[in-house]
Symmetry: C2
Subunit: 349 residues, 2 copies
């Protein structure tokens, strides 16, 4: 009995196509002998497409992408400062539009320091935590505006919108994840300043905590959380936080655990109403694009998250183990595809 998974592939800009190519190779290799077949549809989206056609993400694109079971995305975004992209906000119009429209309310970002991975900390300890970043609310909603733009009297406002509905569902997901991990959950917010949204986050965490008496819960202000990420990152198991704080913490966490070249993420719609999307945390890095210099590991670890999401935990673990073994043995520089090949060799060993 074979199962067909419809997979949307969005290679994107810059190093996106290179890292996605390796991710696909790994996906193919790990599922070669399984009963799962991937039916892939490729979407040409990003700065390049915008420059060609003026489109960022059309309704037709969205409908076609939504018809899939899952999505893998490389990276999107053109060369910073390109004057032709001045009025194109590829991030908001494409990446965030996908996350919001497909109701990716869990932005899942694991941080694990693999043995042998380079890192900036002198004594990092055992680092293995997951940030559960809310993905559809907060300061990301785009409810801002400005008046008298460009004059000395300009006022520019941004409104962070937070709902009990939106916070509760992501908090529940985080607690369930903590149950399956080391039973520790840290809420990160800035409740002493953002009293309304912070108060609601704190209240909902307290409420859901009642249902999880075995999960130890603590709270850190976002500023203090950054301190712990560099002085004692092993104190964390599951962090649950707002969209913007999650954005900031996960880049820092990526740096602490070997660099953004290793950081994977899943934009997840746990209800299954819409396809979930898996992508490396890094950007399109146009400066090194097309040179086989990019590290595809983050894209490959995103495949592990995809496999887990699809209910293929064994395949997921095989990918993670192969990456782990490869990282432990890395030395010298390799091309993007050499790294992909090395990981596949570990898979098959």
């Amino acid at each position: 009995m074979s199962r067909v998974v419809k997979l949307a592939v969005i290679p994107g800009d810059g190093i996106g196509p290179e890292v996605v190519a390796e991710a696909e190779k790994v996906l193919d290799a790990v599922t070669a002998e399984s009963d799962v077949t991937f039916e892939k549809t490729r979407f040409s989206l990003g700065a390049a497409r915008y420059l060609e056609t003026g489109d960022t993400l059309t309704d037709e694109d969205l409908a076609a992408i939504s018809a899939n079971d899952a999505i893998i995305l490389g990276a999107v975004g053109g060369t910073p400062g390109d004057p032709r992209l001045k009025n194109a906000n590829i991030e908001r119009g494409l990446l965030l539009k996908l996350r919001f429209t497909l109701d990716h309310y869990v932005n899942l970002r694991p941080s694990k320091l693999y043995s042998g991975a380079p890192g900036p900390l002198a004594a990092p300890g055992d680092v293995d935590f997951v940030v559960v970043r809310e993905g559809t609310e907060g300061p990301y909603v785009g409810n801002g505006g400005a008046i008298r733009v460009g004059t000395p009297h300009e006022i520019a406002n941004e409104t962070s919108v937070n709902t009990a509905y939106g916070v509760e569902r992501v908090v529940r997901y985080a607690f369930a994840l903590a149950e399956r991990r080391r039973q520790k959950l840290t809420l990160v917010h800035k409740t002493n300043v953002l009293v309304h949204s912070g108060g609601m986050w704190q209240r909902i965490v307290n409420e859901v905590a009642q249902e999880h008496p075995d999960v130890a819960v603590d709270y850190l202000h976002v500023d203090a959380a950054t301190i712990f990420l560099v002085t004692n990152p092993s104190r964390f198991d599951v962090i649950v936080t707002d969209n913007l704080f999650g954005d900031i913490l996960t880049d820092l966490a990526g740096a602490v655990t070997g660099g953004i070249g290793l950081a994977a993420s899943g934009n997840i719609n746990p209800d299954g109403t819409f396809p979930s999307m898996f992508e490396p945390v890094h950007g399109s890095a146009p400066d090194i694009a097309g040179q086989q210099k990019a590290d595809p590991t983050a894209a490959i670890l995103s495949i592990a998250l995809l496999l887990d999401h699809l209910g293929l935990p064994e395949e997921s673990i095989r990918v993670t183990r192969a990456v782990e073994a490869d990282i432990a043995a890395r030395d010298g520089s390799r091309t993007t595809s050499q790294t992909g090949d090395a990981i596949i060799a570990r898979l098959q060993a």
Copy 2:
């Protein structure tokens, strides 16, 4: 000809009084032979006062504080989770109220890695930068609200308010500072998501940059900035940023440069309309209060910022040098007052 400086002293809660005592000792020592006399008025403010009287900061307090030339503040805030403080937001009602009412639009936070200072990075390099954090706008304005609080239909919003007036004045300050330093300025924001406020910040930085052709300007998203703070902190000279991003970056910067026990700050009103306020970045740390365990260095370095602000650059440099020499020679543990005494001994050497 002697000059009298009226100084408001707010020791505050927790370790505040202990570190302020050392800061005052250093201030007295370094100005002992100068023609400046400090006329000090002490204000009992913070969680302790709130618990006693129910007051956070009265109009009379504000008027009396405003009548001074400058302010030193230790730290405010009670024991986290103290039920009697549940409805007291000491941070908003006292600290932020002072910053906003006294128009402290420059929140100046230098980060320097002194030789001998402990730090979490394996190879930090030469770290010496200043964060110029906007202090009177952004998500800190308190323009939030919530409806249906405590129900499943709660909506909690927070509005970040940003004005050309407010951004321009802090950007101008940052450029002037960069001119006196290594002529490099980095704007940190999140322009790809917070397009209205970010767009205004970017535009104003571009405009003011025209008047400073010798200052090299670059831009980083806040998430990327945290990466550089741990992988290459020596790339920074002056960072100019929004109130919330500045809060986050400076705690991380403090951690990177030897810990929050060394991080000083000035809440400055450059126009001189209101007294500026100098305080360590750290909090009140009630868990170690009254035990002579706190490091007073951050409070003492805040005195260096105060002296500079008062037009006493030589005294300021003497304090900084004394701290620098003391840090280089530190070993073993000392009490709060032993550290103060050691720094005074260096001053007088």
